[in-house]
């Protein structure tokens, strides 16, 4: 087995323009990279000797509203051989899609769908970009910061009729003109 290689040095040598920022805090390494180079960087991290980040641990999105570009997509890659995690982070806005990772890992399929569902970030080349958790006819993307937190009153015996009267399935008799 090859010796572990420093992730930042290897990436900067291979992709001099793509890495925009390197953050090390709380003992974790974050690499902010350009949106369009995410797949090739991830492919390099997965296959190169001394890196071998073979497991896609997680993909998640963050909404930094009102910052522009407002969305961040975080990829957490894990190396089984060298037991370490790296976070790849890229920024995007509502209209610009991020290239998909489904060609590299089938595991990227559902997390990307979830980010599309929850944030409205589109993934270019995704084979099946439908909503995952919300119903297909849902409007809006719930995890956006400008999406309000809704609530539903709980029906008990004492407030049953009042709440029930406001439900959409209630059909009121048509008002007649005579009286």
């Amino acid at each position: 087995m090859a010796e572990p290689v420093d992730v930042v040095e290897a990436l900067k040598a291979e992709f001099p323009d793509a890495v925009e920022d390197v953050i090390e805090e709380f003992g974790e390494l974050t690499l902010v990279v350009k949106r369009e180079s995410v797949p090739e960087i991830c492919k390099f991290l997965r296959d190169a000797d001394g890196l071998r980040f073979k497991m896609l641990a997680d993909i998640t999105g963050v909404d930094y509203y009102p910052q522009n570009p407002r969305f961040a997509v975080c990829y957490h890659l894990y190396s089984l051989d060298f037991n370490r995690v790296v976070r790849i982070k890229t920024y995007t806005d509502e209209n610009t899609p991020v290239p998909t990772l489904t060609d590299l890992w089938p595991a990227a399929n559902w997390p990307e769908r979830e980010i599309y569902d929850m944030f409205g970030v589109r993934f270019e080349g995704h084979p099946d970009l439908r909503r995952l958790l919300m119903p297909p006819n849902w409007e809006g993307h719930p995890l956006r910061k400008d999406y309000p937190l809704g609530d539903e009153p709980t029906q008990f015996s004492f407030n049953w009729r009042r709440i029930d009267a406001g439900k959409p399935y209630v059909v009121r008799p048509p008002e007649s003109d005579s009286d």
Partner: protein, 420 residues
């Protein structure tokens, strides 16, 4: 009265999740020509272990494509947590994987602790380990019971739930609740265990050892069960990694990876235990790994009780941890800390962390981003079962329906965990 067939309208516009046209590419073109059949399995089906909906494209009895549809239990926990303070969001995490709540607490609390950099006393660490392992056993017991039920070994469920109930009683003794205990808090655990707790756990472990043998005999001497698990649903090691499978499902495929060994947390490095590794990656190996894991969990609990350190169960760093009730009566400072903690909450420094733990079903990750305010800016849970269901279509292609039930049972899903 006769009905003209032409009058019967099929409202394809309002198919159960939009129009069938959306699925072009996911299901084959043969389905659109009517050569294969589309069958809905679930959302209320006994073998889907909750409200999971599978759309099966069938050629005879062979599964051509399988399209899982989740979200029936989606309660927006991640969104709700953003509006709570850090500590008040912990009870929500209990509700995700409801068969293994302490692990959910643990992932979230470890993420907070990583942000604030707090030292946890050794007694609290050991108690965390005890409850994580007890609930791992409880969760695996439920799994084996229900899996037996799926596979034609019906008595398993009755026996397994009996032992699980004993574990829940132990949890109730300490946390005051059978399942949603919210026992693990930032800086330690909620309170110390009562005197009768350790003898009760020892008694349970003594009984449990014999019960495990019974269960194994119940299953292994059941020819139907044996027949339906060997060589079914094989996943190779590389495939399992690429599909994001973790935990017993990954280890059944022969990959030696357990977060407790790879990146020890809560002092797991002090305990001696083995990681059971399968060979074939089939349904039987997944069962075997879980079964052996229960034995190892019992081993860890025994060591933890034998070497239980004395001392506090909560850190005394008043910036992050509330003062005990006894202090509030005579210390003005404690009163202020108490008030600030429960009204405003804690304010971890700005940043983001990703924590991985080994939950009962696999690697559970918690991504926590803080903006320096009293509310979590973004919490995301990477759930093992979520990845396992997303891997299901790849595993079951070409199988027959009874094998699909076996595979679905063997990957051990909890829909509360998947949908969050």
């Amino acid at each position: 009265m006769e009905v003209e067939l032409s009058e019967v309208k099929v409202e394809s516009e309002h198919f159960w999740w939009g129009s069938l046209e959306d699925l072009r590419g996911v299901i084959s073109d043969r389905a659109f020509k009517g050569e294969t059949m589309l069958l809905h399995m679930g959302p209320q089906h006994p073998t889907t272990h909750g409200v999971l909906h599978l759309l099966l494209e069938l050629d005879g009895e062979n599964v051509v494509n399988c399209v899982p549809d989740i979200g029936y239990l989606h309660t927006g926990i991640e969104k709700t947590m953003e509006s709570k303070t850090y500590v008040r969001a912990i009870p929500l995490t209990d509700r995700m994987d409801y068969l293994n709540p302490p692990a959910n607490n643990l992932a979230y609390v470890l993420a907070i602790e990583k942000l604030i950099g707090i030292e946890v006393p050794p007694r609290a660490q050991a108690l965390r380990v005890i409850f994580a392992e007890l609930m791992r056993i409880a969760s695996h017991l439920v799994w084996i019971g229900i899996f037996g039920l799926d596979m034609g070994a019906m008595s398993m469920m009755l026996y397994c739930f009996r032992e699980r109930e004993r574990i829940l009683e132990l949890y109730e003794m300490v946390a005051g609740q059978r399942m949603m205990g919210t026992y693990i808090r930032p800086g330690g655990v909620w309170r110390d265990v009562p005197e009768e707790f350790f003898p009760a756990v020892r008694e349970f472990l003594d009984i449990f050892r014999h019960k495990l043998d019974d269960y194994e005999r119940l299953l292994r001497r059941n020819p139907i069960w044996e027949e339906r698990t060997h060589g079914v649903g094989v996943v190779s090691a590389d495939e399992a990694i690429a599909l994001g499978m973790t935990g017993p499902c990954l280890r059944a495929s022969g990959v030696n990876w357990d977060v407790r060994k790879a990146m020890p947390y809560c002092g797991y490095e002090q305990y001696e235990f083995d990681i059971p590794i399968g060979e074939n990656g089939d349904v039987y190996d997944r069962y075997w790994c879980r079964f052996r894991e229960m034995e190892q969990s019992a081993r860890i609990i025994k060591q933890a009780i034998d070497n239980m350190p004395d001392g506090p169960v909560m850190s005394d760093d008043r910036k992050w941890v509330p003062p005990p009730k006894s202090e509030i009566g005579h210390s003005m400072e404690s009163l202020i800390h108490h008030f600030k903690y429960w009204t405003e909450g804690i304010r971890p420094p700005k940043g983001e962390v990703f924590v991985m733990i080994e939950a009962a079903r696999g690697m559970m990750g918690c991504y926590l981003a803080s903006d320096g305010g009293p509310h979590p800016y973004r919490v995301h849970f990477r759930q093992p079962t979520y990845m396992h269901i997303s891997a299901l279509p790849h595993i079951v292609k070409g199988m027959i329906i009874p094998d699909l039930v076996a595979v679905l049972g063997s990957i051990d899903i909890v829909l509360g965990d998947v949908d969050r």
